[in-house]
């Protein structure tokens, strides 16, 4: 997989150019570009890093530095439904760890694990800013808040049944 050359599709090139226009230089667009790359490729591979570096006139090392600094870029393929459970203080006080253990058991994977069918991956995350609606989890970009065990059961079952 590592040898396949990565190229942005024309649509995404246009999106990246729009991002570049926000800044006086090209490099600041790297964070947005990496998001777009992750969307297209599923994760940030070495090929992606090379392509992003060429596009934004950076070195591959600089791009890699950004990828490894921030937690929202993944260097391996994650599941179609990336489940993020917050266990930080405010969630913990309201049962965040119960939710975390429940999801772990239900999916049979641990932190940063991916299910065999690539449908789910799991991540224990730090505070997501949902302290007032704790406990919470996020599936990809969507927050699910004020969770109960029943709700979690329903969320995961409905995701399991989807295609």
């Amino acid at each position: 997989m590592n040898n396949t050359v990565f190229k942005f599709n024309p649509e995404n090139i246009e999106r990246i150019n729009k991002e570049i226009q926000k800044y006086p230089l090209k490099q600041p667009a790297v964070m947005a570009t990496l998001y777009i790359a992750q969307e297209q490729n599923g994760y940030i591979s070495n090929e992606v890093i090379k392509e992003v570096a060429t596009l934004l006139e950076m070195t591959s090392e600089e791009v890699l530095g950004v990828v490894t600094f921030y937690t929202m870029y993944y260097q391996k393929p994650m599941g179609k439904n990336h489940i993020q459970v917050c266990t930080n203080v405010s969630c913990m006080l309201r049962g965040g760890y119960d939710i975390w253990n429940q999801v772990k058991e239900k999916l049979g994977i641990d932190n940063m694990g991916v299910t065999g069918d690539q449908k789910f991956s799991l991540e224990e995350v730090e505070c997501m800013g949902s302290c007032g609606t704790a406990p919470m989890l996020a599936v990809n970009e969507d927050y699910y808040e004020n969770l109960t065990k029943d709700k979690v059961e329903k969320i995961i079952n409905s995701l399991k049944n989807k295609n």
């Binding site: 964070m31 530095g65 309201r94 730090e126 800013g129 609606t133 704790a134 970009e141």
Partner: protein, 440 residues
């Protein structure tokens, strides 16, 4: 009671509704005055930063150089990653146009032509909501070059959203700037301060979302009006986020100086099961925690909290009832700061890890009484020895929780002194003395 940042007006997040309710009149008023006048009014209003440090907003703006051939920048800090804080997302969701108007006025006052709103990456939904509001404002000519015509002024400003990617440290202002520049979010050594040497080496001002959302009402209703709300030394309303063991968690906009007990029992409905309160963190997880018996009469504003040995931080109030295991809580907080330490400074990179390890040892039942002193020693050696305030953020909860709940922690460890650890503590203390002399 008057709400300034999150008014009770239905659909105020829609541009037309905002305009019908006097939206963008403050900007018009501001553009007709000199920039010095605007800065002066905000200074006199007493508006202080809502992001943690509670620094005077007007004073911060006045640090921007008047004559420079470099472009100037404004950054709005919406990274909001401090555990217990969830207020800025309310502004993005419920009143984004007031934030936009505040940005325009601030940019005018400091002479910035470009402003970046830095929003944490996890806030996908709120980034979309804010972008929608921004697109609407652009389309209607309130932002960008079209605003020249709209407001009949020479000044114009572009506003862009920069999406973060899950690093807590990017809420620190110099780290935030590095992040916008497309680099690893390492905090920078100060001085030089951002007003001299900020984004791309240009003069830059960084303000919190809530701070800037306060600006339009100050311009519209006058600084005298604002300065009379709440506590005179920290006037205005504050968005208090209440979470943890509480019946009605959520964000409450209340005048500064509101009693902490009032917020917990009257507004947020008290503790479930009428349990007693063991501990409250008044301003987000990095602020010194207060004991349950310290809460009586505590006012929620920067100066009053200082006198009781805590700080206002982001106004994120975390309530813990009498059945809470404080060792678990502190170990979780320490895990967080260990995880989020950027690794630049050795005291923080290593110290946060040791704090976590020692706390996990106590949690596992293997702690001894010397561990308690060791925690404080390690915390003291982080504090003040790092480039940015994450060092303090990691050290404070440990130092203050262990000191204020010493009995509680002592009850959780073996009375026998672990000699190996004790010797280590002793030798670490010993090294402090010659260093202290060098500093003087």
């Amino acid at each position: 009671m008057e709400k300034i940042v999150l008014p009770d007006i239905e659909d105020i997040h829609i541009l037309n509704v905002y305009v019908q309710n006097g939206g963008f009149t403050a900007a018009k008023k501001a553009f007709a005055q000199s920039t010095d006048d605007i800065i002066d009014q905000v200074k006199k209003s007493g508006l202080r930063g809502r992001g943690g440090a509670a620094f005077s907003a007007g004073l911060k703006w006045s640090f921007m150089p008047k004559s420079t051939d470099k472009p100037k920048y404004l950054c709005i800090n919406g990274d909001e990653s401090e555990p217990g804080s969830f207020k800025d997302r309310q502004v993005f969701e419920c009143n984004p146009h007031q934030l936009i108007e505040g940005i325009l006025i601030t940019a005018y006052a400091i002479g910035a032509k470009v402003a970046y709103i830095y929003i944490r990456g996890e806030y996908h939904k709120w980034i979309k909501l804010m972008q929608k509001a921004l697109d609407d404002a652009y389309a209607a000519g309130y932002v960008g070059e079209a605003m020249k015509q709209k407001f009949g002024t020479e000044f114009f400003c572009d506003i862009y959203i920069h999406k973060g990617a899950g690093a807590y440290i990017c809420g620190e202002e110099s780290s935030l700037m590095n992040s916008i520049e497309g680099k690893r979010g390492y905090p920078r050594v100060k001085p030089p301060f951002p007003a001299q040497n900020g984004l791309w080496g240009c003069p830059t001002t960084i303000n919190n979302v809530e701070t800037i959302a306060n600006v339009p009402p100050i311009i519209n209703k006058g600084w005298e009006w604002f300065s009379k709300i709440g506590e005179p030394k920290h006037p205005g309303t504050i968005l208090f986020g209440v979470s943890g063991h509480i019946n009605k968690p959520g964000v409450y906009e209340l005048p500064s100086g509101t009693l902490l007990t009032d917020i917990i029992y009257n507004y947020a409905g008290g503790v479930p099961g009428n349990k007693k309160i063991l501990c409250v963190i008044p301003g987000g997880s990095s602020m010194p925690p207060l004991r349950g018996d310290q809460l009586e009469g505590v006012k929620m504003d920067a100066e009053s909290l200082k006198t009781v040995g805590s700080a206002i931080g982001t106004g994120g109030i975390i309530v813990m009832d009498e059945d809470t295991d404080l060792v678990t809580v502190l170990a979780r907080i320490s895990h967080f700061y260990h995880h989020e330490s950027c690794g630049q400074c050795t005291p923080c990179r290593e110290g946060t890890g040791w704090l976590e390890k020692i706390l996990k040892r106590i949690l596992a039942g293997n702690g001894s009484v010397s561990d308690i002193d060791l925690l404080i020693t390690v915390a003291n050696q982080i504090e003040g020895n790092t480039i940015c305030a994450l060092g303090e953020a990691a050290a404070w909860p440990v130092r203050f929780m262990v000191t204020r709940f010493r009995d509680y922690f002592e009850a959780r460890v073996s009375k026998e002194v672990n000699l190996q650890v004790a010797n280590k503590v002793h030798s670490m203390r010993h090294t402090e003395f010659p260093l202290a002399e060098v500093k003087n």
